[in-house]
Amino acid sequence: TFPGMPKWRKTHLTYRIVNYTKDLPRDAVDSAIEKALTVWEEVTPLTFSRIYEGEADIMIIFAVREHGDFLPFDGPGRVLAHAYPPGSGFYGDAHFDDDEQWTKDTSGINLFLVAAHELGHSLGLQHSTHREALMYPVYDPLTDLSRFRLSQDDVNGIQFLYGSPPVPPNDPAVPTESVPPEAGTPAACDPALSFDAISTLRGEILFFKGRHFWRKSFRTLEPEFHLISSFWPSLPSDIDAAYEVTSKDTVFIFKGNQFWAIRGNEMQAGYPRGIHTLGLPSTVRKIDAAFSDKEKKKTYFFVEDKYWRFDEKRQSMEPGFPKQIVEDFPGIEPEVDAVFPVFGFYYFFKGSSQFEFDPNAKKVTHVLKSNSWLNC
């Protein structure tokens, strides 16, 4: 750590990419920075969200020579970047020398590697004397990016400052004795596993849990496991519900009385919005689960023992709702954790159980374990 051990006194930090290098497409810079933040997010309680204007905790700039902090860069080579330890104003900021050739691979200077190092400084880490450490001061162009990992020295340093990632507080779905080796990450094949929300996305299925999600494609057996923030940095964790409107190629994500819209890994502008803009009454504080039936062009919102139906054509909540869930979905007991439609069935999730519901026969046709889709 730095002298005096400066560290952030909060665990949720904001960052802003103030300008861009011309060496790379903007989205390549965006994802390099996101990935670099995820490296530290995965081993600490820290979370990051991006802002696009104003003062962020971590301001990220590309500059050449003198750039306003009395530490001018030196042209191509030698000094690549620098960053300041935690604190207000320019402290916490990271500056990249735009006289370098920034690349996605190691044909030039790899932006992800240098950003992960500099952001280590922004979080309070000084240099490491361990050659294999990310925080070693000299850039190693031979780093194998596909096998990149923090060294133990990096993890020891950052966890000395901020501790390790939180284990979900007495979450019944993850009894403490079954917490997997990397504390804080849910185990796919834990028989007690439950989900916060589930949605389809362009033919895949996303199973959300805490800060993470499993991504299940029908083309592969094994689901992938990711941090939500590694794809959508400004989305919250522990979400309530999610559903895809395929006609809009958009997934809507709900938490509390707000919802966000994502298209692929792009956050849509103009969100979050209030859930009451959909026509839900102000008495509804949050929704438990939701899905959209593309054949019927109807979206269903489940709240405790009731549900509402939204007409995607007319873009309004239908009259005559809410109704009792058991009235139209016999066998589905409230409250619903998550639900998604596929192959003409609706799959409802409650705790560690999953109920396959046939909307034509209007009955539950199968009861399974919640994690049956995760190839356990």
């Binding site: 002298p3 030698r78 000094v79 050659r131 001061p137």
Partner: protein
Amino acid sequence: YPLDRAARNKEDSMELVQQYLENYYNLAKDTKQFVRRKDSSPVVKKIQEMQKFLGLEVTGKLDSDTLEVIRKPRCGIPDVGSFS
């Protein structure tokens, strides 16, 4: 007299090492004295401190390994001491 190449390279290396030690190891910025002082104990100590930090053989001398590492691209933050 025009310096011959070897002497020229030697002088470049001296400058590079001096700048490196000043930027990253808190060597006092005392430009005039560096070359003469190179064998003086403060400078030798700084060279040893740098070699130790970077995992090089601690010789106190500007051997080829040391000169190679200080020519590599790196982070602009000092390796020791505060940074503000």
